[in-house]
């Protein structure tokens, strides 16, 4: 409680004190920045690690589809990594031939509003049961409200098996855009 003492200390070593203060402030700021690095990396991990990445699913042996005359329906098992868990679900795809005769895999999800498109043998084409969008065997539009052709899925052939990468695409847009 004695101001004279207080003043004496403050005046006696101003340069040393301010130097120390600066040094400590600098160290503290440095430590703060250094410590926020792991926090930010931790926070942003799901943005950098593609935790929602979809793995390749097996759609069957390529030889099964050698003499394909029309689209065939296949149920594939899709394994998705969702953070710390893997989800396994079954999805419907159609194996068909493109206009150039190459094997292609169509998603059964209608590009209009997402109903499951069905193959109608009688009409030799696909038809959506919800709003009657219709498509040719190769997936191109013949009529109805769909904004684009049925979506083709990425494929690759591994050891004679047709592998598919199942993805969702945005509905109601004219171009195919991966969703999610």
């Amino acid at each position: 409680m004695s101001p004279p003492e207080l003043k004496r200390v403050a005046v006696a070593e101003p340069t040393r004190r301010s130097y120390l203060g600066w040094l400590l402030g600098l160290c503290t700021a440095g430590a703060g920045v250094a410590l926020s690095v792991p926090l930010i990396r931790f926070l942003l991990y799901p943005l950098r690690a593609r935790t929602t990445e979809v793995k390749w699913s097996d759609a069957g042996a390529v030889s099964d589809f050698a003499s394909l005359t029309g689209p065939v329906q296949r149920s594939i098992t899709v394994e998705q990594v969702d953070g710390w868990r893997k989800t396994v679900s079954d999805k419907i795809v159609y194996i068909t031939k493109s206009s150039s005769g190459e094997l292609e895999v169509l998603s059964a999800v209608c590009p209009h509003l997402g109903c499951s498109v069905q193959w109608r043998d009688s009409k030799h084409g696909f038809e959506c049961p919800c709003h009657a969008a219709s498509f040719r065997p190769d997936g191109s539009i013949t009529g109805g409200p769909a904004p684009r052709a049925m979506d083709t899925l990425q494929t690759q052939i591994q050891n004679g098996r047709l592998m598919v990468r199942y993805q969702y695409f945005r509905q109601l847009v004219a171009t195919k855009e991966v969703f999610g």
Partner: protein
């Protein structure tokens, strides 16, 4: 406006802010706290505790971004944090070692307060609020220990809750309350989680505020030669000297924690297996003396050792400022108080040492403890394995017994109702779930709505359904069965 358009607009801004908030006087009040006899290294532990508590809060909030408090997922999510997430092992280690650091600093803070006799002189409530904080910190350590749900966590908590069960009259009830039932399970985890992240931290914030208020009310006690009520030594303000010493110590703590976390990450053992009868549960080091102490109190006497004696020690400890009314602060003039304190500390060390001896003296125990550590190390080396979530609906749905419903289920598939409403009406992003629709509308209402959907349904993408009457009847029967 004239204030803000001042030549020195920054000064104007701060003047405005200060007028509205009183920030300046608040800051002055905080920083100009007079310290009799000047700043000292011995006074750092209180602010160090506050610093490490804030570090625990920050790391804890971040860990909660990935942690799931359920017996099914807790262990997986902690493994995910430790092994997969960037800097996850580091942050978890800072948090886990931070709890030990907090207990150590707490003991240092109490010891300093005790040896300096700083609890004397109108500081009874300050001391009592400190005792409450002591208990709350131990609660944090106990509840946090279970959360990883590994073997160590599970068995240590099983023992801990059993100890609570020893308390006469309310013990059994208290144990069930803590566990959320007779056995340890997912409800235990939820309870500990809520205590650890909501209830106890809120209490700590409140009591810390009270503790700091009472401290400022009583004033710093200063060196041991001073009268604790009205110290006469010349004072020095808290800022800058003591602030610098405190900051330097905080820096030291965080550097030590970071080095530990980086070079010796805190481990996670295999997932809790309640069926493992070989597992030797061992609590964290600060509970080891109590753990050893319990071995000496068999059967009917156990409540004397478990409840009465520790209760008496805690009672005398808390009532210290009421029992010791002299103003004498020099430790060598207070043989009874300092002697008892030293005795209790030595006894705790002794118990810890005996626990170590009995674990490492018995070849069977020693081998089991080594095996447990080996399991833990092995688990830590394995890469992270994601939990596999099986589809909720089986790939081939069971055919319902009722033929009408079976036919309806087929129509449901054919009409691609599942495209939006999900398999078996469980719903999806594109359409609402239909399960339980029988509670919401009758069969006739449902049939009518399917034929001509409402405006809201049409807007959502629902098309009118034109089915033959028989088919509609089956579909409605199926939907009502969901």
């Amino acid at each position: 406006m004239s204030e803000l358009s001042n030549r020195n607009w920054r000064g104007g801004f701060f003047r405005w802010l200060d007028k509205r908030t009183g920030l300046d006087s608040l800051l002055r009040e905080a920083l100009d706290e007079p310290i009799p006899g000047g700043a000292r290294f011995a006074y750092v532990f209180g602010s160090a505790l506050l610093f490490i508590f804030i570090s625990q809060v920050i790391t804890g909030v971040f860990l909660a971004l990935y942690y799931v408090p359920s017996a099914d997922h807790a262990h997986t999510t902690v493994a995910y944090i430790s092994k997969a997430v960037s800097a996850g092992g580091f942050l978890r280690s800072i948090h886990a070692y931070g709890s030990s650091a907090m207990v150590i600093l707490l003991l240092l803070h109490v010891t300093q307060t005790f040896l300096y006799g700083s609890y004397k002189g109108r500081r009874e409530l300050l001391w009592l609020s400190g005792c409450v904080l002591f208990a709350l910190v131990l609660c944090m350590a106990f509840t946090g220990y279970l959360l990883p749900w590994d073997q160590k966590a599970y068995f240590a908590t099983a023992v801990g809750t059993n100890i609570a069960g020893e308390i006469p009259l309310i013990g059994a009830w208290l144990k069930s309350l803590m566990r959320g039932g007779a056995d340890m399970g997912t409800l235990t985890l939820s309870r500990f989680f809520v205590a650890h992240i909501l209830v106890v931290p809120a209490a700590i914030f409140a009591v810390v505020a009270l503790h700091v208020y009472l401290f400022r009310k009583a004033g710093a006690a200063g060196p041991i030669s001073e009268n604790p009520i009205s110290p006469t030594a010349p004072t020095e303000p808290f800022y800058p000297h003591q602030v610098m010493v405190d900051a330097a110590f905080a820096l030291l703590i965080i550097i030590v924690l970071a080095l530990l976390a980086h070079f010796a990450p805190f481990d996670l053992g295999p997932k809790a297996n309640p069926a493992d009868t070989h597992y030797l549960p061992r609590p964290e080091w600060y509970y080891i003396p109590i753990f050893q102490w319990l071995k000496y109190w068999p059967g009917s006497l156990s409540f004397v050792g478990v409840v009465i004696i520790p209760g008496l020690v805690a009672f005398f400890f808390a009532s210290l400022p009421f029992l010791d009314r002299r103003m004498e602060r020099r430790p060598w003039k207070r043989p009874i108080a300092v002697g008892s304190y030293t005795f209790i500390f030595l006894a705790l060390f002794g118990l810890g040492w005996m626990s170590y001896r009995s674990d490492h003296g018995d070849p069977g125990y020693a081998a089991q403890l080594i095996a447990q550590q080996k399991d833990t190390d092995e688990f830590m080396r394995k890469p992270f394995e994601a939990e596999i979530e099986q589809p909720v609906v089986a790939a081939t749905p069971e055919t319902p017994a009722n033929p009408l419903i079976a036919q309806g289920a087929q129509i449901y598939q054919e009409q691609a109702c599942n495209g939006c409403h999900g398999d078996a009406g469980t719903g999806s992003a594109a359409g609402p779930k239909l399960t339980g629709i029988h509670d919401r509308m009758s069969a006739d209402q449902l049939a009518a709505l399917l034929k001509s959907p409402s405006a809201k349904m049409t807007a959502g993408g629902m098309a009118p359904l034109n089915l033959p009457p028989d088919a509609m009847k089956s579909l409605v029967a199926y939907l009502e069965s969901l």
